[in-house]
Symmetry: C2
């Protein structure tokens, strides 16, 4: 499994993904699930993936190839599409086509040829937008009412987001929120694993403002995880039934 | 959906269930999902249910009928079975038979004729035991390593249990833990709803030691829920990334 979460806030976009991929419990690997496409000052696009690795890798490779094609058009290249909505349509179409191709080769296992994606980005003079793209290529968009989107193993990490995230949340608090949401997921589900990829896109920066890989032995993540556990246990002790 | 959780601790058993049942979003009702069978001083049995209401109600009705049957034997009556393990076998068998009967009438919807149960109890001179009974009638048992069992919408409320519950947890802390676990679930999932049923079986009491229905407007639950939110937000503010 996977856990990826993206927040769409007044001040920018914050995304976090894990890197664990497994095809059975004895075949666990680390694969990046966060991909960025930028033309600084013109557009910034970030994609996170969950689901069949063969589907997500092929989809990303095709998006990349289409974007580098000298005959690319705004209909085929996510780097030329005039809006992030149209980028979402290209990504959705490519994902659905790839899923169908892979599924058609898989017979009775076809249902496992499925993947979903979170797409976030901004184009010059456009708004920041964030979409959750379903395996069939359709999508939903983050709004002020629901400023976050999750894919993969999303339930363990949802309570903390429900409690602390609003569109006004600062980018610093947002980083904390996604890391704590991931921390709860890591503790409760073995199939989500370190290292993590964290990225921040500030409003109107039209570039990746911060990007960081957090390794398993990262001291600041470990310290945060410990303080959060201690704080929770402390809060738990003080609550009266 | 449903959320039921049971803790098996050194000092006793603590169980909590919600009461929301829905057959589609426009058909939501309140049904008890916690059932007790006691012969004080001899045996105490508590059953919580999740899944198809028609399956769980019929299963419980049959268990009840078999227990009152004047021709009941230790093989058919949960009130005569010599051990809680054998009670689990009777419950599992009745559940599996009922599921199959209902499924056989449902054609292509057969997969929705499914239910699972948590069974907890103690017999005189026996240990306290707790089982999770699957739709097929097989079961797993809570142990010192994993002192809690959950059925229904279990993921939202798992992180808090993973952090605070051990077999040494006191009954007071255990009540707090299951209520906070339920609180996280209620906030993140609409299909789990108040009122709640809470029960405590103290070790060797061979009776239900405490039982309480917590209504939606219960002031102490609301206060606990608010303090927990405040404590979490406060802890969140203090954590450094």
């Amino acid at each position: 499994m996977t856990y990826c979460v993206g927040l769409l806030l007044k001040d920018g976009i914050v995304c976090l993904s894990d890197t664990r991929t497994n095809a059975g419990l004895d075949n666990i690997s680390t694969y990046r699930k966060m991909f960025t496409f930028t033309e600084p000052g013109e557009r910034v696009i970030l994609i996170m993936t969950a689901g069949s690795l063969s589907v997500t890798q092929t989809t990303l490779a095709r998006l990349d190839e289409a974007a580098s094609d000298i005959e690319a058009t705004p209909n085929t290249s996510i780097m030329l599409a005039p809006t992030i909505l149209q980028v979402a349509e290209i990504v959705g179409r490519t994902l659905a086509e790839t899923s169908q191709e892979v599924a058609s080769r898989m017979g009775s296992n076809a249902s496992s040829a499925s993947a979903s994606m979170i797409l976030a980005g901004q184009r010059k003079d456009g708004d920041m937008r964030m979409f959750l793209i379903y395996p069939e290529g359709n999508f939903i968009e983050a709004t002020a009412d629901t400023p976050y989107l999750q894919i993969g193993e999303h339930k363990y990490g949802k309570p903390i987001l429900d409690r602390v995230v609003t569109p006004e949340t600062s980018l610093t608090d947002a980083k904390k929120a996604v890391l704590l949401s991931m921390d709860s997921t890591l503790r409760s589900n073995l199939s989500v694993g370190m290292p993590l990829d964290l990225a921040v896109i500030e409003r109107d920066a039209l570039a990746i403002s911060q990007q960081r890989r957090i390794e398993a032995q990262d001291p600041s993540f470990a310290a945060m995880s410990r303080s959060w556990s201690d704080a929770l246990r402390d809060a738990f002790t003080k609550i009266e039934v």
